[in-house]
Structure formats: C-alpha cells, structure tokens
Amino acid sequence: MKAIWTVARRELSSFFDSLLAYIMIVAFLGFSGFFTWIKGADIFYVNQASLQSFFGIAYWTLFFFIPALTMRLIAEERKTGTIEMLLTKPISEWDIVAGKFLSTLLLIVVALVLTLPYYITISTLGDIDHGAVWLGYLGLILMSAAYISIGIFTSSLTNNQIVAFLLALFIGIFFHIIFDVISSSLTSVSGGVFYYLSMSNHFESISRGVLDSKDLVYFCSIIFLGLFGAQMVLVKRK
C-alpha cells in the first residue's frame, strides 16, 4: 500500500513538473467551459438548472484527454529502461500499475474539482437536483477510471507512446459509442450484451441520478481488467 502511494506521488509530481498536468487542466476547462456556457445547446438554451450539458461534453473531452495522459506511463519507462530499476526494487508489479492508475485518477479529480464553480453558479440560478450533480461527477470519475486503466494496459504493451495512445483510443471507442450503435441494430440477447458493454448507457443512467449496482459492477470490472492486464504484461517479462 505504501509502495503504491510512493509510485503515485512520483508520477503526480512528474505530471506537474512536465507541465502536462497544467496543459491538460487548462485545455479541459477551456473546452468544457466553452461548450457548456458559450456555444451550442448550452445551459441557457435548455432553460433548466442542470449540469447535463456539461457532463455530456466532459464525457467526450475526457475520452480524448485520458489516453494522452496514460500513454507515457509505462511505455516511457520501458523505453528509457527505468522499468528495470522499478522492478528490481522490493515492490510488486501490482504496486507499480496501481500507483500509476491512482496518480492519473487524482489528476482527473483535480480537474473536475476545478469545474465546481459551474455547479455553484448554476445552483444560484435555479433549483438544481443536487443528487444528480454529485452522481454525474461520480459517473465522470468512474468513466475516467475505466479509460485510465485501459490506457495503462495499452501503455504496458509497447514502448512507443503514440502506439499506446492510438491503441487506447481504438479500444476506448468501442466502449464509447460502437457497442451502443451495434446494440441498437441488434435485438434479443446479443443486443442486450452490447447494450450492457456500452459505456454511454451506464454513464447516462448514473448522471441522470440513478445509482445502480449494475453500473458500478460494470465500471469496476473494466478498471480491474485493465489493471490486471497491465500487471500480467509486466509479470510476463520474465
């Protein structure tokens, strides 16, 4: 447990030292702020005190940003050889993978915390469903966690960061929309399976304010599978 935190802390400080964290946060706030407040089907157009439109936009922004954050996590260590230094220290492969996961998740949480002024502003404009807002944030965090673990898995497969990035997007796009599209054109059991695999359905049901254990199981499974896969890749080096 201590080792996970040690790895996570180094990773976090490397995010901030390399300016990656600042760029990511500024870009995220810029994108989501622009589309939430200024352009498109914005909050005023809906004429309802709700953060739904922000969640919809953050859902897409994070989808693209997260692979950019995770792509270097293991690929870079493989390339520079520091992975050998890490793996010959008395910590397990799981500690390394979990530490890196934790660091990126914390960075996303920081970015999301910085959007709380949106919530505060809107709640002064009208009656807002507080429960739905908090669950919406929870949904974003769960979704981010799922993509982070996929990103860490693809980063563990290669020592080329671009390959890791594209592979993460490629796997991610299936969960993001393709499974949903497939499920709508299929019926019966197979349609149900794809419906369950689609991340957007789970995210929407949470951000509408319904917390179902089915959705939690879904997100936790993806997180676990991704991290477990990355760990296995590291173990397999032997």
Binding site: K2, T6, G81, M85, L86, L87, T88, K89
Partner: protein
C-alpha cells in the same frame, strides 16, 4: 551475504543465454564478471536481481531463493543496471528519496541515508540539480547512490564504468573498492585492467558457461603452463649460444627473440626451471647474462584464449 547460483539456465528462443551455470560468491568477496558481448553476463545479473526469471535452476542470496521469495531477495540487493536508467526530470535528492521509499527505508532514516549517500558518492554540489543536467560521471554516481541507499549487503553492478573518461573511471573504481569492503559485490566489465584492479576473483564466461575462474594470478598461471623466459646472453655468437641453449636438458624450445642481438625466448619442459642451467652454461663458457626475465601471460591473452572457442 553469499550468493549461490545453482544450475541456472535461461533461453531466448532456441539460444541458451545462460547454460547450466553454477558458482558461488562468498560474503565480502568482489567478483569480476568477464566475457565477450552476449556471453550471458547481463542475463545472469538480471536473474540474480529478479528482473528476469530462470528457465531452470535457482539463485540463493543469503539462502533466500529468487524463485520462492523475490521481494525478500530484492531488499538485500543494490543494483546498477547496464545503461544506468534514471528519471532525468527529477532532481538528484528527490530521486534518492523516491528510491529510498521504494526500498522501504524507514521514514526517520530516509534523510540520514540520503545525506550519507550524497557524501559517499560526492554529489554534494549536484544534489539539487536535475539528473538530466549532470555529466555522465555524475549520473553514474547517482546510479551508484540509488543502488546503495538502503545499505544492501549485496551489490550487483553491470558495467559501472562504460562511457566514462579515465579520471571518472578511476573515481568510480575507488568508490566501488571503498564500498565493497563490507559487501558482496558482483561487477561486470569489458575492461580487464579494471577487473584486475578492483576484484578479488575473476570469472570469465562464454556462451553462458564458465570458462575460467580464480584470482588474476591463478588465471595467468593456468593459461601459461610451462615456464617461459626471455634470455639475453652476451660474449658468444648467436648460433653458438642458440645450440648451447637448445642442448640444455631442461629446455623444451628456444627461439630467436631478435634479428640481430643475442636475445632468445626459452620455454622450459613441464615443471622444470631453467635459470640455474643457463647460469651454469654461461659460467662454463665464459659468457655473461644480460637479461633474464620470465614472460608473464597477460590477462588479455587468457581472456582471448578461453573465449575464442
């Protein structure tokens, strides 16, 4: 802590990188690991440090097996990998703190250990610089410092002086010698003089097998075999002296060592020494000895001989 390597085998595809290798390093010994590129030095070291797993066989560090409890073994080992990988964007002191925490140095000891490492490895002026900004020699010191931060009883150094200039090589060598007094050290290198200067024992491996093992004197003797002398005799003609030397009962072979001067190379028969006979020969003929030197086999020759096969 001692290291016992038992019947270690590791394959890459069909090729055996390490082939049924067994050896032992006693506590406090500095072992020099020699061999041509691709001989299996690095692979063996990676298996000892638990980075790679063996296909068969075992390594026991202080009696603890790398197969059964790698995390326990790793606690006792300080390892400097081949290309000295470091986090370049980190300041030296932060990096050492990070490694200390990974190694499980207790929180109240961490600062003390970092200060000690900075002093031992001569990093005082560089401690707040980012590793990227350091020269190669200083990077190597950081690599050594991180390997030593938890005061390990076993130290594995994979080519610790490659790419350094002669001054830096001597500094790092001194450092290893100083540190190596209380620790069990395995050090690999291409530079034979370096291994000779720093190590108690030398082991040469080729194609994953041990081809020579012993102190540098032992290795030389082993390769040299029969006595070989360089003799300069004056006072007679070349042919005369040559035939007289050849006629000595202890002589196996005589050869001219110079085109014009009366200098010869004389190989004795097995287990016989020729010096006395040469002296008596000269005394009886009225010649005198200008030079009489035993020719030593250089470690380079040993190396070439045992790894050429």
């Amino acid at each position: 802590m001692d290291i016992r390597v038992e019947n270690l085998t590791k394959r890459y595809g069909l090729q055996k990188a390490v082939d049924n290798l067994s050896f032992e390093v006693k506590t406090g010994e500095i072992l020099g690991f020699l061999g041509p590129n691709g001989a299996g030095k690095t692979t063996t070291m990676k298996i000892i440090t638990c980075y790679l797993g063996a296909d068969s066989g075992d390594v026991k560090v202080g009696g603890i097996s790398v197969n059964d409890s790698p995390e326990e073994v790793k606690k006792h080992i300080g390892y400097l990998p081949e290309h000295n990988p470091l986090y370049y964007e980190m300041p030296v002191i932060d990096y050492l703190r990070f490694v200390a925490q990974l190694q499980g140095v207790s929180p109240e000891m961490v600062n003390e250990r970092i200060i000690e490492m900075i002093n031992t490895c001569g990093l005082k002026g560089e401690q707040h610089k980012k590793i990227r900004e350091l020269s190669k020699g200083y990077k190597q010191r950081v690599g050594l410092a991180q390997a030593l931060i938890h005061d390990p009883s076993v130290l594995i150094l994979d080519e610790p002086t490659t790419g350094l200039d002669p001054n830096q090589i001597i500094e790092i060598r001194e450092l290893i010698k100083k540190i190596g007094r209380e620790k069990t050290v395995i050090l690999s290198s291409h530079i034979l003089a370096e291994v000779e200067a720093t190590c108690d024992r030398i082991m040469i491996i080729n194609k994953g097998k041990i081809v020579a093992d012993g102190t540098s004197e032992q290795l030389r003797k082993q390769a040299q075999g029969d006595e070989l002398l360089r003799v300069a005799i004056e006072g007679g003609s070349r042919d005369e002296i040559f035939t007289a030397l050849q006629a000595l009962p202890s002589t196996a072979l005589v050869d001219f060592a110079s085109e014009t001067q009366t200098v010869f190379e004389l190989q004795s028969k097995p287990n016989v020494r020729s010096a006395k006979a040469i002296f008596e020969l000269c005394a009886s003929k009225g010649w005198y000895i200008g030079e009489l030197t035993p020719i030593e086999t250089k470690l380079e020759d040993v190396f070439r001989e045992v790894t050429a096969k």
